[in-house]
């Protein structure tokens, strides 16, 4: 009776349950940050890692694709962390951002977008070559996956790539997103990520919106809007360039 009551309440009020879970996760993360690392590792960085660990176990338990959100009791996490509320909150971070800073970095931000898409694509293609792929469709799809996990499957579908190659491209993009989320606070110091200009360049180069905004949140939350403003153009640019120009160029070489 009690168990059924709990299940009904948690499942029937998913979003609210999500607030509780995230609140508890953050409390634990900030406790770990303060007591175990004496504040050296930022609480939100630990919270993101905890979230990813929960997502891993959620995936193992349900064999689904949405991490913890696939566990029916915790489905609200998917709503809270879904693209609608995420994008809404990203827009809200620009409350307090400085328009002059964005204008100052405008040209560099735009060029970083093109360099970012091109660079990730080339790296993906080269690694795919090393693994023995030599047809333009597979190479382009895997290269597009290294751009983001959204560009990969869109490109693969447009070019009629095999489902195995599309799966690889999605996985490559997911690895990129997770690594940017977790790694950003650790490399920030070494790559000069402490000002709006480099945050905008960062968003343009990395491009994965979830990775960049998550990583910057764990580094210095004031930088989030600057990274986000460029990163949100990246996937669109990738979807535009990969199945067209970059595919044609790849086809010319192989």
């Amino acid at each position: 009776m009690f168990l059924e009551a709990i299940t009904n309440v948690l499942e029937g009020n998913g979003l609210i349950t999500g607030f509780v879970i995230v609140g508890v996760t953050m409390y634990v993360a900030y406790l770990i940050s303060g007591k175990l690392t004496r504040g050296i590792v930022h609480g939100s960085a630990i919270a993101i890692v905890l979230g990813l660990v929960l997502a891993y176990f959620g995936g193992v338990y349900t064999e689904g694709t949405k991490g913890l959100a696939d566990v029916s009791l915790f489905a609200g996490i998917g709503l809270l962390g879904g693209s609608m509320l995420r994008d809404f909150a990203i827009v809200a971070t620009s409350f307090g951002a400085n328009f002059d800073e964005i204008k100052k970095a405008g040209a560099r931000g735009v060029s970083s977008l093109f360099i970012g898409v091109g660079l990730s694509f080339v790296v993906g293609v080269l690694i795919a070559l090393l693994f023995g792929y030599n047809d333009a469709v597979s190479l382009t799809t895997i290269g597009a996956g290294a751009v983001t996990y959204i560009v990969g499957p869109i490109t693969g579908a447009a070019l009629n790539a095999s489902s195995e190659v599309i799966a690889i491209s999605i996985a490559a993009g997911l690895i990129k997103s997770v690594l940017v989320m977790v790694g950003t606070p650790f490399v920030a110091k070494y790559i000069g990520l402490d000002n709006p200009l480099s945050a905008m360049v960062y968003g343009g180069l990395m491009g994965t919106t979830s990775g960049v905004t998550g990583g910057l949140a764990a580094t210095d939350v004031r930088l989030v809007p600057y990274g986000a403003v460029t990163a949100t153009f990246y996937t669109g640019l990738g979807c535009l360039l990969c199945p067209t120009l970059l595919y044609i160029l790849t086809g010319l070489v192989w």
Binding site: G51, A89, A92, I154, K176, T230
Partner: protein, 136 residues
């Protein structure tokens, strides 16, 4: 009223997304291109105009500030709903391609942001002091 702030935010969001869809269609891409970015720029401009006219009351600002502060919790919920298992079971090619793309892009950041960025960091820290209390 707080809802005024939330409504301004939501209005900018919807308008930005609309233009993102239009740009996507014009470019022939099956995705929203820069909708969030446009919404952000719009919000910055709208809030700036309203603040200068003194038309953005404190409660209205609190509606904006709330969603601003909810950003990190939402990112954590997002992390918890990622396909981490899929990423780790994608095989060595996927893992190496993903890691290589990130590491190489990292090394390019300082090259692209350049010296100017270093100088602006000092200025930025003076004009936007860290509010550590707020984060906790």
């Amino acid at each position: 009223m707080a809802i005024y702030g939330v409504a301004i935010l939501a209005g900018c969001f919807v308008v930005g997304m609309f233009f993102g869809e239009i740009i996507g269609t014009i470019m022939g891409v099956d995705s929203n291109v820069g909708g969030v970015g446009i919404a952000m720029l719009l919000l910055i401009v709208v809030v700036d105009k309203l603040q200068k006219k003194g038309m953005l009351s404190m409660p209205a600002q609190s509606g904006l500030a709330f969603w601003n502060a909810m950003y990190i919790p939402i990112v954590i919920a997002m992390a918890a709903s990622q396909n981490v298992l899929g990423a780790l079971t994608g095989g060595p090619l996927a893992i190496i391609a993903g890691v290589a793309a990130v590491v190489i892009s990292w090394t390019v950041v300082p090259l692209l942001s350049g010296k100017k960025a270093r100088e602006s960091a000092v200025e930025f820290n003076q004009s936007h002091p860290l509010k550590t209390q707020e984060v906790k």
